[in-house]
Symmetry: C2
Subunit: 237 residues, 2 copies
DNA sequence: TTTCCAAAAATTGTTGACACTTAACCCCGC
DNA sequence: GCGGGGTTAAGTGTCAACAATTTTTGGAAA
């Protein structure tokens, strides 16, 4: 074991600033729920716990601020962002459009290997459904989606989708925890694979879009009270 | 006049951290071209010039990093991001999809007032075209686009679109500077208004998408040499 | 001249300190 | 008990200093 290092040593491979590490740590804590929406990120205690100063922590928080995971209030600090239902619907809406767009790209770009990869993931998910392993399904599901986005070979598209997913993370987990929901979601994946093999662009786009919106609707059904409170005119088209 | 203040005084209205101000300043400098792609942001001289310390500057740069306007290299600092043509095409692709999506939303949501607002902007742009005021056209054009996105009432959609626009800014300005380009662009705006009044969702989406891609193609024509260098398989659908 | 290398200068990475603001506490009068 | 109001504690905002790294410089050798 190396002696305590002031900076990450060149040979240790890391070669990154503390801020980057803290960024990842905070991101994970927010996504995993260790930090709940509304929580303040206490710079001082966070720094003291890790034996570092507040500078890098503030830098990490600024990045999270721009990513929309954290909110900054002058003289009060950084708070884990609270998403109201209205914003959740907004995000799902954009997300569905991007997923559909990915479908149109994939219609003329997806390879046999990629289809095989998705099929394998789908089979693992089916197994997870049968075994009632919701967490495992959730992880595989993320990989399924992010693989699809990666196959578009449009890094910006994939990044933006990933960013939206990250903002939704806590809520989506809640929606997928119900057994009936994972079952329905998995069935939709089967349909996605089917149309991807077929190759009709508009049909693929439609199926991917429907899958996104179905996910949104599954989430909404877990929270009828918030939905009732929302008197806007969103609908499915 | 207040004496020199260590912090922005509460009554001065600003009530924001220095980092936020620097963020805006750097953003503007990058967009306006005062900082060119590849330039390093010299923390020390930037801080000294403004009589502040490097902390807030680094915080601002971290936000710009997450926004994709700046790139961070360990021990070397922050550099204005260099977009290669490949990335420009990626961004245009996503941007067009989002613009089309906005069109589908507006098909059932746009109001008479909003149409009037867009029409007014269009007329100003037509005047700018005749007067050969490229800069003025460029500004109005941005307002035209961002108004359309704002009318969707989806803040995330508008923000993401804005972010992509910001990344493209320098390149787009280059494309629009040519007289023929502003003329074509303005004509397309006329068509957009026409279909928005009509209200057919798919048609609107298609026209908005075409306008985005036409802008992309206008840009490509200003740089035939880079296009030739790019041996990938992007096309128009 | 060109290339290489070491010393110097410039710049980044991080810290600890202090000014300032907000939040918590406690005591008092009711 | 239970609101005010002032005092204390906690936490943020910024800075200046120093360690570590990168870049520049200025020769010396080929």
């Amino acid at each position: 074991m190396p002696t305590t290092e002031l900076y990450p040593s060149p040979e240790s491979g890391a070669a990154q600033s503390i801020a980057t590490g803290i960024y990842r740590e905070l991101e994970t804590m927010i996504i995993e729920g260790a930090l709940a929406p509304g929580d303040r990120i206490n710079e001082k205690s966070f720094a003291d716990q890790r034996g570092i100063s507040r500078g890098p922590i503030r830098e990490a928080c600024r990045r999270l601020e721009e990513a929309g995971l954290v909110e900054f209030k002058v003289n009060r600090g950084f708070f884990v962002r609270v998403l109201d239902l209205r914003e959740v619907l907004e995000i799902y809406d954009v997300r569905a459009a991007l997923f559909a767009h990915a479908g149109r790209i994939l219609a003329r770009r997806i390879t046999g290997d990629q289809l095989a990869e998705l099929t394998a993931l789908h089979e693992e998910m089916e197994a997870a459904v049968e075994a009632r392993e919701a967490d495992s399904f959730y992880t595989l599901n993320r990989r399924f989606h992010s693989s699809i986005m990666a196959f578009t070979r449009n890094g910006h598209l994939a990044d933006i989708y990933e960013g939206l997913d990250r903002e939704l993370h806590i809520w989506r987990k809640r929606a997928l925890i119900l057994d009936g929901n994972v079952r329905a979601s998995s069935a939709e994946h089967g349909l996605i694979l089917e149309v991807l093999r077929n190759g009709n662009p508009s049909r693929i786009a439609q199926v991917l879009r429907d899958h996104s919106l179905a996910g949104r609707n599954r989430l909404l059904r877990t929270m009828p009270e918030q939905v009732a409170k929302l008197q806007t005119d969103w609908d499915d088209d």
